[in-house]
Structure formats: structure tokens, C-alpha cells
Amino acid sequence: MDFTLSKEHLLFREMIRKFAETEVKPLAEEVDEQERFPIETVKKMARYGLMGIKFPKEYGGQGGDALAYIMAVEELSKVCGTTGVILSAHTSLCCSPIYNFGTEEQKRKYLPKLLSGEHIGAFGLTEPGAGTDASGQQTKAVLDGDHYVLNGSKIFITNAGHADIFVIFAMTDKSLGTKGISAFIVERNFPGFSIGKHEKKMGIKGSSTCELIMENCIVPKENLLGKEGKGFSIAMATLDGGRVGIAAQALGLGEGAIEEAVKYVKERKQFGKRISQFQNTQFKLADMHTKMEAARLLVYNAALKMDSGERFSEEAAMAKLFAAEAAMEVTTQAVQLFGGYGYTREYPVERMMRDAKITEIYEGTSEVQRMVISSAMGVK
């Protein structure tokens, strides 16, 4: 296994780091405080191709790969967890399923604008009664001539308030259970489609998390994504990719907290010494760094597997499980190293800690990841 980054990945990392430091970091505090979606950042990301990193140029992508995309989420999340998840949800949860499961016409129609960043993408699976158990879908889709009619609602939909294109799941045949779920490409302005309540959250506050409401929503028949009844497997395959994105977000948050902590402990003096001179600080940071480095290897490994075209559900689950829990622990320790200052909003570590919590929850809780991993081990 070769973990040395290629020259293009090293150059890419230089670019994305500079972009994150210059364009994203200065807004992070404000975006969090004001619970504001950083639309201007998304536009800048679009200009440099960040909204279509891993897709081929023929569909308007940049010809990069999954590893580069994952590194982008990581570096953005180092300075702003909100920006990291915007990119992750757009890429993994909307562009990817259209690219992987869409017809040639669907790809030609939707991908160029999504990949150029002119359109923002979102994914609607979760419902009030269907979270971890996605099979409990209540949203219904009924074929009526040349279109489907969708009724129901989705909750906790990332990017919803600013998204143009949604990949939505609905029951086409309730009697078949998960085999009765189908996926649809829904445009924001389709009749009967609307955005509902905006959630107030603990962290990633700038990310737009809303309810989606479909009341006799008319979706043209040609917007069925994949075949009828294939929705559940599309959702699960999509979430594998999404998990690597969230793992990268967690990775960035943990690494970002370490960077802040290292800077701080070298400056902060107590008992006449810089606190970096205390062994407690040194050992704690060594453990934090080691943990995130292990997370990085798992996350990059999952990204490489994703690029290889092989199945990567288990790698994705392990990467997300480990990175999310490591991020939660590391950001909490970072706050501890900052002491009272860490608890204030003067320093970004408290925000990172709040942001990290969600990585243990969305796109499959840590418990779900453990289910995926143990099941892949044959432990049933």
C-alpha cells in the first residue's frame, strides 16, 4: 500500500490549504455566529472547480479523483466545518448518485451545472419516522402518465435552503418494503415542492438544514434515477461515499483543533512557563496527533478504494466511525488545553467541538457504522 501522495495531490493540497486559509477561515466565526450559509464561499469554490473535483471533464467535472475531493473536504473542515459539509453533501450525496446511476440524458442535463457549482445539490432520504431505519419511508411516489406525483416530507436535509437539485427517495410500492423505494431527481422549482422549517443546530451552524415538503409534487417520469425499486440500494451506495466525505470532515475538524492547540500552547504561559513545556500538554498533543493520523490513513484508504471502483462500504464505515469518534475526543481535549479561553468563542476550538459532534451522528450514526462493519465481518 502506497501512502505517499502523488505530485498532483501535493500541489492540490497546497492550493486547497491556501484557499481555506484565505477565503474560508476568515468567515468561519461569522458563519457560525450568524447561522449563515456562506454562499459567497461556494461561488469562489465553484470558480476554481471545487464543486466538481472528482468527475470527468466530459460532464463538466475537473478530472480529479476521490482522494483529491476527500482532501478538499478535510482542508476546508480544518478551518470551517460548515464549508466542509456543504461540499461533501453536494458532491457525495447529489452529484455522485446522478453520475453513478443516472442515464446519459440525466447526466448531460444535470451534471454540468452541478459540477460547475452553478447549481448546489442535496439529498433527501431521512424522514421523521425514517432515520437510521431508512426503510420506514412514508413519502410516496405514484406514476400518473408521464410523471410521478410525490407526497410526503423529509427532514434534516443538508444544503436544502440553497440547493437547486435534490436526489429524493420515495416509496413507489409500499408492499415491497425496501425494494419498493425509488430515487428521483427533483428540481427545486418543480410544482408542489417546497422548503420547510430551517433547523437550529448545535454545530455546523452555517450549513442549511431544512425540511422538504412535497405536496402533489410533479416529477417527470424521465427523472426517475435508476430503476423503480432500486432506490434503497442507490441510497446505501451513495451513503458509502457520503460517509467518506463526513469522515474527511471529522478528520479536518480534529486536525484543525490540533493546529490551534499547538499554536496556543506555545504562547500561553502559566507558572512562568509556556504550557507547551509541561509534559501533560506534550503527551496529550502526541496522543491527539496520533489518533488523527490513524484516522487520516483510514479515510485516505477508503478514498483510494472508492477510486478503484471496488466496493468500499466497510472501509467507509470504519473511516467514518474512527474519524468521527477521534474528532470528538480530540476537539474536546483541545478545548481542555485552552482552559477557560477554550470555552469562550474567542477561540475556534469550541466551535470545532460543537461541529465534531454531528460527525458521529449524520450519514449513519457510529452505531450504524458498527453494524455495517460487524456485518461485513460475518458476525450476524
Binding site: K7, E8, L11, F12, Y48, G63
Partner: protein, 263 residues
């Protein structure tokens, strides 16, 4: 419009520190970057290309590791890149450097040459004008704004300490740019992957140039200056604190300002 941009890869001097124990320069872990004034020159070239069409060729002299700086330029949108590199070119002062670079440029086609005003590691601001001299081109240095680009001339705003001039100059010519000229774009994702997979950095060694240059004007041998000695800046001593009357305080401050030539 065929534009050549002269670029240097430099250590990010804002990251260079002095080791307080050995009193030497810590160069480890200092990132290498495209010199900021040069990057502004590249951005200006790319903007001109967007406005009037043409090509942007970047030229750099340096060790093989400078390849990455040229890839970065390609990833930002430059069309071609040349790395002038050879042991024979090493140890050059500005006269030998400008001779080497201008000799390489003579092998290329151009309407406009853009160089950064100065590199942050050497801060000499000499290579640009010396290249212009070598090529017999008019020059405008310290360009802080490009006012107008036409088929056969360019109009720029040239900075001085207390004024600026609007200067029109016929092409071909050489201008040197200030970093405040613009905000250079980032590399694009497609540009980065294309810089390695679709484009190349062409190496220009002594072999390629030998018919055009005299060897005794290259590198250390061709240099007209030599570093006799280098040493880190003196660490400053502990300061003094005075609790005195206001007038005395003003006197103390004035004496220091005069001593330090700050007024």
C-alpha cells in the same frame, strides 16, 4: 499577444526564523513559493490573455525542484513552462542570472515580458531591468496597475514613493510588477491535474543554450559580485523602561528616533 513571465521560486521568508541558540537561519520546513511579485506578474499575464487572447509562457531559472513552481503556474492557466537549469548556471549573481535568462528568452517568441519587481529572498529588483537591458527592450518597472493593452503598446501606472506616472510603451517591452497589482487567482482543480497529466515543464540546460551563450558569463564565473560573508541579524538587547515626566519622555523618544534614523 505572446507573453513571457519570468518567475522565481523562493523560500517563504515570512516563515524563516533565526535559531536563538545557534544564531543561524532555520530553513528547514520553510515552504517554497512563487515569488509574490512574480505571481502578480503571472496573474496580469493571464488577465491580458483573457482580454485579448494569446499565450502565456513562464520561464524560471533554478534547481530542478523549481519544477513545482512552474507546475503551479501551469495550474493557474499558463500555457507553457521552461525551467532553465544546469549546474553551470549555479552561484550566479544578478548580472549572470539576467544574462542566462535573457539568452534563453532569445530562443522564444514574445511581445511582452513581465517580471516581478523583486524576489523576497534577495530583494534586489535587478534581474528584470538587467534582462531588459540584455534584450535591448524598453522597460517600465514598479507597475502597480495595467491601464490598457493594445496591439502594439501597453499603458501602465508606474509607482514612485510620492507619485505615479501613467506610461505608454511600445511592444515588445519588459515591465516589472508589484504584488499589489492584483490578487492572483488560485490554481484550478482541472489545472492542477492537467499540469502533470497534459502539460510539461521543458528543461533548458547548458546543452540547449551553448550555441547562444559564452560560458564565462554564466554562473559563479560570470558573476560580478561575490558574497564575502553572511551573518544573521543581530538579536536585539533588552529594552529600557522610563518613568519620567512627559517632557523628558518626549526627549528620550526623540533621541532614539534620531539615533535610529526613523525621522
Amino acid at each position: 499577444m505572446k507573453i513571457i513571465v519570468c518567475m522565481k521560486q523562493v523560500p517563504d521568508t515570512t516563515e524563516v526564523r533565526i535559531d536563538p541558540v545557534t544564531n543561524t537561519l532555520i530553513r528547514d520546513g520553510v515552504p517554497s513559493i512563487i515569488n509574490p511579485d512574480d505571481k502578480a506578474g503571472l496573474e496580469a499575464a493571464l488577465t491580458i490573455k483573457e482580454q485579448v487572447g494569446g499565450t502565456v509562457t513562464v520561464v524560471s531559472m533554478g534547481p530542478p525542484q523549481a519544477d513545482v513552481a512552474l507546475r503551479e503556474a501551469l495550474a493557474m492557466g499558463a500555457d507553457e513552462a521552461y525551467l532553465i537549469t544546469d549546474r553551470k548556471f549555479g552561484g550566479a549573481d544578478t548580472i549572470a542570472t539576467s544574462y542566462t535568462i535573457s539568452s534563453a528568452i532569445k530562443m522564444l517568441d514574445y511581445d511582452l515580458i513581465i517580471a516581478g519587481r523583486q524576489a523576497i529572498d534577495g530583494d534586489t529588483a535587478q534581474v528584470g531591468p538587467q534582462i531588459a537591458e540584455s534584450l535591448g527592450l524598453p522597460q517600465v518597472s514598479y507597475v502597480e496597475r495595467i491601464e490598457k493593452i493594445e496591439e502594439d503598446k501597453i499603458t501602465v501606472r508606474r509607482q514612485f514613493e510620492d507619485r505615479y506616472q501613467i506610461v505608454e510603451v511600445k511592444l515588445p517591452c519588459l515591465i516589472t510588477t508589484l504584488s499589489e497589482l492584483n490578487e492572483p487567482r488560485y490554481m484550478s482543480v482541472a489545472g492542477i491535474f492537467g499540469a502533470y497529466r497534459e502539460k510539461e515543464v521543458k528543461k533548458v540546460t547548458f546543452e540547449e543554450m551553448k550555441e547562444y551563450v559564452s560560458e564565462e558569463r554564466l554562473g559563479l564565473k560570470g558573476s560580478c559580485t561575490k558574497v564575502k560573508q553572511s551573518f544573521p541579524k543581530q538579536a536585539k538587547g533588552k529594552g529600557t523602561v522610563h518613568e519620567v515626566s512627559e517632557d523628558e519622555a518626549v526627549e528620550i523618544i526623540m533621541a532614539k528616533l534620531i539615533e535610529k534614523n526613523l525621522i
